[in-house]
Symmetry: C3
Subunit: 456 residues, 3 copies
């Protein structure tokens, strides 16, 4: 390339970079927040789940107030939270520290109060905040990326707001600290107990609550935990049995993403990569606080085996779906599915279709019934098996595998019927005024397409 | 009307009013209790669930005993309950009060003992009893009407006694106080804890237990509740987090029916009637013990939205059923269903049929399979969604909605098949010795008709 | 018979007895343990679940150590378990006893350590061990026979090891004492609490956990148990409400098999045999620690009624299956099922087939879909109903019965379809390359036959 043509890429950059910035700025300038803010408006309650973007101060009281004044008035208005604060270390700091008052976190102008972001807490608690932010290096799943990676996504713009609110309630762990340290006691002792985690980590698809409490570890906590000294750090010798935080946040580290081998059970991973061998050693070291190292290594191998069995079952189901698809028997097919509301049907480039084959996260909705069966097998049955296996609740793992067996049988059975009756049904459905009454209809044009396009 | 004919209505009244009284008296004079007592005999254990009507005193010991004598003997026979009493305020009253002994509540003649009714407890605890009885003004659901409105009903006379016993175990909250204040400590502190409620308020169709404990409120209770001072009244500032009773029985009021906006999620209500606006203000005031008023108002609006979405799903299912019905494809149809056992098939007036279209409460049984699907969608999935929404367990609400989506898909699918195959199947079934082997048979003539008519 | 021929049976015995002993010895000389040891290899973790047969000592440390030396070193290596021991009675014995050190139970040669068997614990705790062993007289279900009767069985040799490990986790209650008395506190107080039982006794098919905690007994434990004095023996008057152990191990007896009337709900039993009348009296005596005897007797009668209803439902399902079978419509039929891996297909005697009709325990796998439905109705729905009924959680019992009703409807529906379409499907399946794509395939040649024969 001749040197004088160097101006061509430079010119392109000079033009396209500002356009890029303008576009991002424009797309963020909707009424909401995030990449899809122009396509989607928040619910009122988002002010509390994502306060930095949406909270608007109460302005029924005007004026500037000192911390002591806040306390004086709120002792009468909301005594519970003032009582909590009085018991907290914020009100009774060590000798060389100042008390932390309401106004230090919420501001002192009552017309311009804010709810504290992680950055505000990080002003004093820098180590914890840095560890928390460090999770981003490990990708998702992680607490720190729970909003921007999981919720600020194309297929979320296609959901009813009420449901996104539901997701947000837990995923707001990324935007505020009181998911674990409940206000206004903000007790480290509380956050060390498993209950701090279970509001989010319970039920499908992540029955951490159920599987921990059914394990021998959980049993000991339930029977005796009330007498343990929760003021102690999460460290070898301090607790008779481990809790969620003891293992996942050992030594109080606010970084839970750097020890995850199987990534929540969502993807098949190679458990023996060098990265995972490092993580495995961390786990064995941790388990050796109480157990023989051999025992711990064996349990991890058991989990490898359990995961391999689980993925064999999932792949058998996927093969059936792929075979149906290659024979054009999945209905609606990927091409017949509606576009995302953020896409325009008459875009110059072909719109992206919703559905299993375009990524598992979008397989929740707008897919055929048999694809939904696969989704449930993968997301609910498989993850239940994983969590049971990971937390020492083997009967839960067995239930998950029994459910996978049963789902696989169902999928086989449906596939067989689709092969026998499928074409006839499809023709019938097309005749009947488009897709009316077709079993796949709910996912095709239910809550998550027509309705939302009108109401989000 | 000429004045002299005034004797005609007077005569009718003079004749019919005594006949009416006689009829009611006659119908109550069966071996049981309630309107259907002649059609239905109680189980032995009813003596304990509904003691006023059915309890018969132990007579193995004879004689009259003073309270002190009761204690002396029962310390050896049943020491646990005596120990409870010794710890109770009944045994250690304030200075100006007398101790309350066994005999004060159970009587002193050992051959004629009784189990205390709410009226007996109300003899001392008049405020609480009056509040409890006041619930009747608000209709059902309410504790005070749990027996006479929910159990003394035509379709209950059609159920196996074992199952009615099951209902009675919880619905006996109307007929005795120890559902919440367990004997013989009768501690207010105990009744303030959520466990007092969860024996009944758990599991489908009312997972109050599960949804509370998964909420942040419940988390705080689980992690720290053992250190709260439960002797304090349920009042602003006394508790770090609310319990069932804190919100539903604030200030210890024994009236829980006067704050219910959505009526348990069973019916679609207009949340914005003036009555409900009053209730809404009561809730916002209560939530403001700890939360911003805006926040509370938003949460109630979210519940309105969740309920609207839920009812849209239910109405879509109902539309499918109505359409099948109008095309005479529901089998057994309402007219083909068996009469209640309390009706006679050869009554002069046409008997009432069991089934969805005659009222939801009777849709449990004796309906077609697709109607049962609707029932389960309404009673289990919908109410799970409601309770999750009401108690701040959003993931439970989501599970309920996912289940409703899935049920709706199932109903659509079944309806499609019924339309395609229904008539052929129906003809087949009618040929085969009446209804033999028809899938709807279980609900048609299963546990709840032929068997019961012979055994109740 | 002439006397001189007496040498014939003697000769047979002389030949066959040594052969028999040789055969048993040979069959046990595989790499595993138990009757099927030659057909089946253990997982590494079995060393911990069944230590006497499989544990191999850690040998990274060499030498002989006294108890004090164990403590000195392990205080640094595994402080948690040393702390537990320091709190235990083993470290602080009564005046006339010696302390029990690590080496007393695990041995003192670090290259030849062992995990303590029940016999080792029984060396000091003879009464408890004798009671435990005495359970064997009552057959299975019982703790003492949980391994040899339930796991050392032909159909277990046919299972994937990962799943047998799962079974073993709980069934290892027969081979080690720390299932209930967790190491190294070994506190009787802990074992008296329900949590000691719930690691195993929870979830399907034995929701003891769920049903106890939903009962009024469990409610009292949850609300107040933290303040009870758990150092007291399980005896009348010592506890305000009963726990698992209070009723099933009254007076601390380590024999739980001699009071079981309904045998876990697995078989229909006659509740009125003389043996069961004796057990019934034991229960009534126990309940009378707090309740009226009449009340207790009525509750047991209620359970009889519930069980009768449950078995009526199960027999209706069995009748459907038997009828399909006699018409040769069950596919794969018993004769078409694969042999156990411990059998040889070319055995001189006909191999035993897996499946419902050869015993319920083998109906888990390798059966037709409709037989699997029956299995789930029997094992999950029926046992849920039983446990709800037995533990005073009537709503759980109701859920179980509703599930049985629903399963029965499903079985009827499937049977009807099999009768209509069955022969056509079967012919179709046989044409398609053997059994390919047949819905029953999973159970026929899934996880539990081909794969296992290659990998166990």
């Amino acid at each position: 390339m001749r040197v004088r043509y160097v101006w061509i890429p430079v010119l392109i950059a000079v033009i396209s970079v500002p356009i890029g910035f303008y576009y991002v700025d424009w797309s963020k300038s909707g009424d909401g927040a995030g990449l899809y803010s122009r396509s989607w408006q928040p619910e009122a309650v988002f002010a509390y789940w994502n306060p930095e973007d949406f909270y608007v101060s109460v302005d029924s009281v005007i004026g500037e107030f000192s911390g002591e004044q806040c306390i004086d008035c709120h002792q009468g208005v909301t005594p519970g939270i003032v009582n909590d604060w009085r018991k907290s270390r914020h009100s009774k700091p060590a000798d060389d520290q100042n008390a932390v008052y309401c106004s230090d976190c919420h501001g002192s102008n009552h017309e311009d109060l804010h709810l504290p972001s992680p950055e505000i807490c990080g002003g004093c608690h820098a180590d914890q905040h840095n560890q928390f932010v460090d999770e981003k290096r490990y990708g998702f799943p992680s607490h720190a990326l729970a909003m921007e990676r999981a919720l600020d996504a194309k297929h979320f713009a296609d959901k009813p707001k009420a449901e996104v609110t539901a997701c947000l309630q837990c995923h707001s762990v990324a935007t505020k600290c009181d998911s674990c340290h409940t206000r206004h006691l903000f007790s480290a002792a509380e956050a060390r107990r498993p209950e701090a985690c279970l509001t989010c980590h319970s039920g499908p698809p992540h029955p951490d609550d159920e599987t921990y409490f059914n394990s021998k570890h959980g049993e000991l906590y339930l029977a005796e935990g009330e007498n343990w000294d929760w003021s102690k750090p999460l460290r070898k010798g301090n607790y008779p049995a481990p809790t969620c935080a003891y293992c996942h946040m050992d030594e109080g580290k606010h970084q839970v993403a750097n020890k995850s081998i199987w990534k929540f059970g969502i993807k098949q991973i190679n458990p023996l990569t060098s990265g995972n061998e490092v993580k495995r050693k961390q786990w064995i070291k941790l388990c050796a606080d109480c157990h023989e190292k051999d025992w711990s290594a064996d349990r991890l191998k058991e989990m490898d085996a359990e995961r391999k069995t689980a993925w064999n079952k999932l792949y058998r189901a996927e093969d059936i779906l792929k075979s149906l698809r290659s024979d054009n028997l999945i209905y609606p097919s990927a091409k017949e599915r509606p576009p995302y509301p953020t896409d325009s049907a008459d875009d110059l480039i072909q719109y992206e279709h919703v559905g299993f084959f375009e990524g598992q996260a979008s397989a929740f909705y707008n897919v055929s019934a048999i694809e939904r069966d696969y989704f449930e097998m993968w997301y609910f049955d498989n993850l239940a098996a994983y969590k049971g296996s990971a937390h020492g609740d083997i009967s839960f793992a067995n239930k998950g595998h029994a459910a996978m067996d049963s789902s696989l049988e169902k999928i086989k059975h449906k596939a067989e019927k689709i092969r026998t009756l499928g074409k006839a049904e499809k023709n019938e459905a097309r005749k009947n005024n488009g897709h009316q009454e077709h079993p796949g209809k709910l996912w095709f044009n239910g809550e998550y397409t027509e309705y939302n396009r009108d109401h989000n």
